[in-house]
Amino acid sequence: MEHSLIDPSLGEAWRPRVIGVRSTRREDDAILRGEGQYVADVRLPRMVEACFVRSQLAHARLLGVPLEEARAADGVVAAYAADDLDGVAAVPDLHKGGRPVATYPLARDRVRYVGAPIAVVVAADRYAAEDAAELVVPDLEPLPVVAGMDEALAPGAELLYPDWPDNMLIDAPASNPDVAEAFAGLRSVGGSYTIQRVGGVPMETRGVVADYRNGRLTVWTSTQYPHIVRTMLHYVLGLPEGQIRVIAPDVGGGFGTKAQIYVEEYIIASLALRLRRPVRWIEDRYEHLVTAAQARDVRFQLEAAVRDDGSIQALRGQILHDLGSGEMYPPGFNPSFVAVGMLTGAYRIPHQQIGVRCVVTNKTPAGAYRGFGMPECTFALERLIDKIGGELGIDPLDVRRRMLLDPGEMPYVTASGARLDSGSHREAFERAVSEGERLTERARARWADNPDVRIGMGVATYTEGTAANYFFTSGHWTNQDSCDVRFDPDGGVTVGVGVSTTGQGLHTMVATVAAEALGVPIDNVRVVMGDTDTSPHGLGGFASRSTVVAAGAIHKAAGEVREKGARIAAHLLEAAPEDLELVEGGFHVRGTPHRGVSWGDVARAALVRTVDLPPDVEPGLEAKAVFVPPGVAHAVGEDGRLNACPTYANATHVAVVKVDVRTGIVAVVDYVAVHDCGRVINPLIVAGQVHGGVAQGIGGALYEDFGYDDLAQPQSTSFMAYLIPTASEIPPIHAEEMESPAPEIPFGVKGVGEGGIIGPPAAIAGAVEAALAEFDPPELTATPITPQDVHAIVTAAGRAS
């Protein structure tokens, strides 16, 4: 067994022992054996099933909801519309940034999107509930439909919220005299860049089971943040939080989609209170595709003041963001502000001025999706840099090289105020480009004989803010998270954390970090998360935060426990605490390895043989700690800047695409991601995060689209239309990790969850454009890039020649 020293201060002498090892995951055995416990697997006696009646119109006045027929149907226990659910308040508009939407869980007088819940039917089983729900025909009076942003902003547009003067939920103009000065003196290059509506679409839909017994409400829900669900249930249902227990069981993917608190969570909980029976609702895929949070749907007008060498002195522009109906908590506008904050990425661009305008329309409400504004801003800026290169006749890679930040410039405060703490921006770029060029040559050689094939390569560089203070717009003014560490008498450790998993491997991460910090074997660490009764208070899993905040909290708590353990061990060994060192499994006297005690010896003394304790040491061997990521501001400063994250990851992606100019079909044949998330806790899990994000990014760049017609009827209502990429669409992903430890975060870790998804839209658009160079393509400014788009470019070139 390795007995390397762990310095309690984790200073220069610290050498990772289990951090950095390719450990397999502790989560896996149960899942692989089919023994996972997802929300749909919760079974309770007397449980009944709920089914929602949803609006089939995008915009209508709700005049009445006849429920008699449904209530009389076979197997039906109850049926409710909004008027029947007294005691269910409107969802509070906790954020102060935009206009209030005052969403009631069931629609009261108006529906604003197809899928809005109007009534709920409860029956003995799901078959009976669905049959009865079909008998409910709400009395809807159609209203003019606002099907998109341009319609929403047109003069005389129908208002979704009649007491608002227009359809803007938030309008945040920007001004900056430095930007005006830059544009007065320099050439300007600009464009308009659009990312379509996509979403997380986890393989497990949403679902809620609620049960009220013995004066307590228990809610199992497929969520990314159980504690916040509990707080919101308290606000809407009026129960004290102590009477509510929220459990996130195994969650089958989240990706931000489950970082919302949904109206169904309030409704199902209220039904359990009302019926005194367990109630289950498992969303079906159609419901998911029309009601779960959708994202992006952004048009980014961006203009650069460009120096003669192609480098950028200033950026100005505006983000126009379609929030759908806006009936979502936390509100859907947050990604646009992240896009402002992260716009300049890894580049030295001194000034920016970006306004944000978020518009309500009759589409599904917008919310979170992995990447959260960063794919949008990266797409706009990277496409614009390619355009600058083209207009100035400079290789766009060289334009980037002139602006890339170097390690010596860290910490670097960007034009938006983001304080980049560390990174390998230039080296990651050069490595990715070099590997991408090699793979591009290989692809050219492979398809050299095929006259229909063109090969192209595109590049995207970005920074990824991690552990972001996203909650400042949600009304939860905190970024804290916590853990408690407690020993059992046999030397086993239980670590409870406030972060919550959706399958990324957080249990393994927490166990690894705790084992590292305490010098215990990983298998001796039990991890508790996702249950408000047993996990300490925390905000959950989102914004690539879990590793940063959990590791920070564990570092603090473990430090306290170690210190106490050392005092007890010293007493047991009749030595001075400062003469001890912590080794794998316990303490020994420095230089005398045979004089040692195990954590079990220490824990027994602390818990069940307290007579052995030194006189000045209290019984017990546990500690709780709260970690607040350092350096994060909660509001924009007087200079208009804001640092929203304690640490920033970085990466460069290169896509190599094969375009069939006969069919228009684009295939990504190789994908390179050189990525830096600081110190890597588990290389296997980090690679998995990068791969998964890249695959979702490829989906967004080429296949996925939540389209709506002129009446705002959703067009992607099944997996026949919403095209999740399969193994045949996703190429080999060449992921390489660099490690620039976060200097101000314990263990040097940064977040990794969102990085992979940020690069693909920009990299793939650049690659397709490069592949089509001989056809003189217009700038590709929108995703998804479809075979029709490519075909149109090729045919137009044919006509022109």
């Binding site: 995951r25 054996r33 089919g34 996972g36 993917g253 959706t502 296997l684 690679a687 791969h691 998964g692």
Partner: protein, 161 residues
């Protein structure tokens, strides 16, 4: 099994599930997935889309992969049904399951049982290279892994470099 008039009419089915004889009276419209999950508590079979695309609910019907969300329980009358629980050893993991674990071929795991059942019925000889292997896997959607580690796991389980 006697003929039924209505989808809600009850009918009797007899089948074997993971080797055990099962006799149940079920509504004619009951999905095989719901019989397995709610009737037999075999919750390893997951429902991801209920319209036959995602493959999470894949089970083997007389050895062939089927979508249990598109298969009625009555269609399994007289058949042998194998779920993920049926391809799992009493202790530990099967070689394919172990390969998924070793290569991090799963994250949230919701889709995983469908991949395992699909692979259980596949003959490696029919999928000699990565392209054909990916084609095989393309009947199952995964939203977490980007498939890279799943491909690696299968290659390892099939003893390919």
């Amino acid at each position: 099994m006697r003929p039924v008039e209505q989808p809600t009419d009850a009918t009797e089915v007899e089948l074997r599930v993971n080797g055990d004889a099962v006799r149940r009276t079920v509504p004619a419209r009951l999905l095989l997935a719901d019989l397995l999950r709610d009737g037999l508590d075999l919750t390893g079979t997951h429902l991801g889309c209920e319209h036959g695309i995602c493959g999470a609910c894949t089970v083997l019907l007389d050895g062939a992969p089927v979508r249990s969300c598109l298969t009625l329980a009555v269609q399994a009358d007289g058949a042998e049904v194998t779920t993920v629980e049926g391809i799992t050893p009493a202790e530990g993991l099967s070689p394919m399951q172990q390969a998924f674990k070793d290569h991090h071929g799963l994250q949230c795991g919701f889709c995983t049982p469908g991949f395992l059942t699909t692979l259980e019925s596949a003959d490696p000889a029919d999928y000699p290279d990565d392209e054909s292997l990916r084609e095989l896997l393309s009947g199952n959607l995964c939203r977490c892994t980007g498939y890279e580690h799943i491909v690696a796991a299968v290659r390892a389980a099939w003893n390919r470099d």
